[in-house]
Amino acid sequence: MAAESMSEPAAVTSTAATGSTATAEHSGGGGLPQFRFEYWGGQIAWLLLIFAVLYTLLARVFVPRIRRVLDLRAATISTAVEQAKAVQVQADAQAEAAKADIEKARAQSRALAADAKAKATAELNLRQAAEDARLAGELAEAETRIRTLRDAAMTNVSGIATEIAQSIVERLSGEPASATDLKAAQSAQGAN
């Protein structure tokens, strides 16, 4: 790689391993420790190795694991939300059904009440009509009876009137009046 080839020409001094501690004591007189290129090769090689291992572990094991958990969590949450929504819809439907049931029952009871009322009214009407008819019959009967009685009484009255008129005429004139005359007088009187 590019970085490694950079370090290659510098890794020539071999006495560095023993010399590094000595330069450290003399307050770093030999340049920055980072520019001691004899250590670059080992660091770069180890870094590449470590990075490769770390990358492989992360890319193959840890990242898929975390992503699976995150996906699983998202799926769990979304299914839970879906479920809650479905339950909500179900509950709404149930509430709707219950309302409809109540409405139906109310309508039914209302119909039943109306029915009962109508039946009662009809029965009442029927009975009333029957009673009325009976009463009317009785009334008519009574009226006919009264009429016959009155007629009888009326005939009696005319008889009595004729008799009285006869007796009055007899008393006044001394002679008995004829029945036809009386009748004529009577009817004339009745016509007025």
Partner: protein, 74 residues
């Protein structure tokens, strides 16, 4: 002139490059703050851009700083 003195002066002069980076980073954060106080809701989304700009600006100052250290410890 004493070569050691010249080295120290040179190192000090090299680190002067950090002045520019300091001004630049200050401008970035100052402008970010003045923008963020005007529209705080948009500030969170610009955090990456803020850090990016600051890092790119700071790199030049770091360049001067490293150069100064290299001269100082050469």
């Amino acid at each position: 002139m004493d070569p050691a003195a010249a080295k120290y002066i040179g190192a000090g002069l090299a680190t002067l490059g950090m002045i520019g980076a300091g001004i630049g980073v200050g401008t970035i954060f100052g402008n970010f703050l003045s923008g963020a106080t005007r529209n705080p809701s948009a500030a969170g989304g610009q955090f990456t851009n803020l850090i990016l700009g600051a890092a790119l600006t700071e790199a030049l100052g770091i360049l001067a700083f490293v150069l100064g250290l290299v001269i100082l410890f050469s």
